[in-house]
Symmetry: C2
Subunit: 388 residues, 2 copies
């Protein structure tokens, strides 16, 4: 890998996408001494602001993606929303692509995911493809109201998901246009006590590591808080959740990070969704784990031995900063940092828009209540909900 | 700070210099969401490899430095080897420059430093400016042989420093050319038990934080190992060392990180050298402290409240990787990472040359012997001294 020109970097990992997940990959890529490049839509995307080797182009254009892939030693993603044409060129680009297009399909298409997990005997909510309002109504008669309708593709952060409280609401949901290649997926509304996430990393050599299972809290369909590890989780359920994630990673041949979002039903878990990349539920690992999810994703796609996923503190608490009334997040630092000398803040450099993920804060330590209070305070100050 | 074009970054910190210290500033600059730019001699320097906003130009050219400074909100450095002409333009560039040229002089010129510290009553080895071989001989009669001759400017990593064992060796040292503006500085050879370093951060608002005092081990004049905190250090001596560093920071008006290298004489400390920037003795803080030296340097020059310098583990051990027989450091990862899942590695992307600092490893935990063994093993494997 001794390249011309006098430097000595490791292989080139190319990431398709340049959001905050790509941006947070910069720190471990720099530490590892590898070459890291991103394909960005424009120079204002979070990773494009900081990555020396940024290619500007459409991640939906097959020729752009192909040229980008061929300039890398390994190709990976910070999202799963790839078009079928892009998936096709990546299959034949001559470079390793992780996760593979064959695996990514299960993170893109919730029907394919439900079918695959059901075939593997992995516990899921009751579900059915529904191609008509009548199908949906029949499904609802089985599972009861409210139930859930989802588009099989294209949804994220609560988008593409509807709660249906009565038969009369079905037609309004069906009036929404399906994204290309999508079908309607009906799922029972699980009576869960909380949501969990299990993250694992897996390398092409089939080495796997499992992070502690975390508790996630959603607000309006967007993750607002993560506690690692999930408080008061039965150790047997924690191991079960890790085993489910490890089994999915192996059976679906996922390489890189895999996040399995789970419903905790009180006596077990059901799989909600999958993400095959670094995930919001793992941001705590930057400061809270021996090896962050971003470093292990890079190590995995490079087929390097994985780093320990061990938590380095009793508790880690992560709070998302969603866009609020304050356009200038930087101006909050003087107050937030003066109040809390031990707080870790990540601001992504995105323009503040209501509800948009623009940053996150993490605190680690031994007093969970204190950590939650400090994280909540900082988040509320950044969003302008409080001003002291 | 809402700039045109759709992004929302904080103020611009410009760093003059693009070595590994600038490179390791990328991670906290990215997390803080500020704009970080570097002035590099060429695109192969460690920071130039990874920083999106890199200016290529000579850091010794006043006009280049002036133009760079005027494109920033705050100017800082990853080294102190500034020419007088560059210092002069920075004094009048109209932007905050931290540390100020007035302070940096004490890190550039060891005679100025010795005089200032002596005036402050801070304990130093016995020293004298010696302008002739006769002066040096007279000094040696006072302190005894061996003693030390240094050039007052331009030395680093053991360069510009000579041990003089007898009167007959003086003339050979004086035969060396003095760097521009340099004089000869004679110092007694201190009978120290070990070397220590005390690091502090200070902001323009005069907030200061002190890191745990560390033990440093030099090999051939280059730092090879750092243990944080220094083992078996008398708590009173630790506090004394921190107080010395805090006092120097305030009295010399240092803003940013200050490292004070110290000799531990067994019943006290004597100041060896100063560095006004992130320092090799603080690399452990990336993984081992709540806030790394690189983040606190950025926070300090931005006049933001400083982060906690607290160690997060009982012990942190850092080992420098000096260039050895193996040109391709990346190839060592498979073995090193497989052997030690908890090791943290930083490779700087520099071409391997004998004795050159090309990376470092850190391990944190509670068993100091185990940590030292693991760090030593990894360093020896990277340098090719061992191959298993």
């Amino acid at each position: 890998m001794n390249q011309s020109g006098g430097h000595e970097l490791g292989p080139t990992v190319g990431m398709i996408g340049a959001g905050q997940l790509a941006q947070m990959s910069v720190a471990p890529a720099t530490a590892l001494g590898i070459r890291f490049k991103v394909l960005a839509n424009n120079l204002e995307e979070p990773a494009a602001l900081v990555v020396a080797d940024t290619t500007i182009g459409s991640k939906d254009d097959p020729q752009t993606v192909l040229a980008f892939a061929q300039s890398c030693d390994v190709v990976t993603f910070d999202h799963e929303l790839l078009t079928p044409a892009v998936m096709e060129v990546l299959k034949n680009c001559g470079k390793p692509v992780y996760p593979s297009p064959q695996a990514v399909i299960y993170a893109q298409d919730k029907l394919a995911m439900r079918q695959a997990l059901t075939d593997l005997g992995i516990p899921c909510p009751r579900w059915s493809q529904v191609d008509s309002e009548t199908d949906a109504s029949i499904f609802a008669q089985e599972v009861g109201y409210p139930f859930i309708l989802k588009t099989s593709r294209g949804g994220y952060d609560g988008k593409g998901v509807w709660f249906v409280n009565s038969e009369s609401e079905i037609s309004a949901v069906f009036a929404n246009e399906l994204p290309p290649g999508s079908h309607w997926l009906a799922e029972e509304k699980v009576n869960f006590t909380r949501e969990l996430a299990a993250q694992v990393a897996r390398s092409p050599s089939d080495q796997c590591v499992a992070y502690p299972v975390v508790q996630t809290t959603q607000r309006n369909g967007i993750c607002s808080q993560v506690i690692a590890p999930a408080p008061d989780l039965d150790p047997q359920i924690a191991v079960l959740a890790q085993e489910i994630a490890l089994r999915i990673a192996r059976e679906l041949d996922v390489v890189g990070m895999l996040a399995v979002e789970l419903f905790d039903t009180g006596d077990g878990v059901l799989v909600n969704e999958l993400a095959m990349r670094a995930h919001n539920s793992g941001h705590w690992s930057i400061e809270g784990a021996t090896t962050s999810q971003f470093e292990n994703h890079l190590r995995a796609v490079l087929d390097l031995p994985l780093g320990s996923p061990r938590a380095i503190a009793t508790w880690s608490v992560m709070g998302n900063i969603l866009g609020g009334d304050v356009p200038n997040l930087y101006s909050a630092y003087r107050h937030v940092f003066a109040r809390d000398q031990e707080l870790h803040v990540h601001l992504y450099g995105k323009v503040v828009k209501p509800g948009r993920k623009v940053g996150h804060v993490t605190a680690i330590g031994s007093d969970l209540t204190d950590l939650c209070n400090r994280v909540d305070h900082a988040v509320s100050y950044f969003t302008g909900e409080i001003n002291e």
